[in-house]
Symmetry: C2
């Protein structure tokens, strides 16, 4: 398992809605994430919109790539796209750039 | 176990040294962290100095408080203090403000 952390920026005027949407992620979306190896996956939000993602997965590139074939992910990413400040990738999930892990304690 | 995420800012001109120091955290420091409930603890660093911490612990306030009585932590925090941009707390460890977890998938 690799530990992966990434950072995105949610628009400040959409923080409330972002929180609400993530309390009720579609069950089909959760099932797809699990199927493609997203484990112990959390999203943390700071008041200014800084969003931190953390997950554990055998291979993060494959975890992202696997989701690209899931119709439910295409729908989810389409709905989520408007919540973020400019994304380097086509959608939020393809814009997740892993940060370097510089320390770990089991 | 609670999942905790916090963010700090490392000075850009000290990133290399910060990385090197964290490859060789003192064994006594690691033992103290474990003793006070810091589990699955990672630090991730972005090129601009954004530092993300993630850990799992029964009670984060107690995990931080317990370290305050450890002499090795006082020494470690003294040496680390200069690596960070202005800290809201007295030291890096007392400046870790947990972000809100808005999503989790096991």
């Amino acid at each position: 398992m690799r530990r992966v952390c990434f950072v995105l920026q949610v628009k400040r005027d959409r923080l409330v809605e972002y929180r609400i949407r993530h309390r009720a992620v579609w069950p089909e979306m959760l099932a797809a994430l699990s199927r493609h190896g997203w484990r112990n996956y959390s999203l943390f939000l700071r008041d200014d919109g800084l969003l931190v993602g953390y997950c554990e997965t055998p291979d993060f590139s494959q975890a992202v790539a696997g989701m690209q074939d899931e119709e439910v992910n295409a729908r989810w990413q389409r709905e989520m796209g408007g919540f973020f400040e400019s994304l380097p990738g086509a959608a939020a999930d393809t814009s997740m750039r892993p940060l370097e892990e510089v320390f770990h304690l089991e």
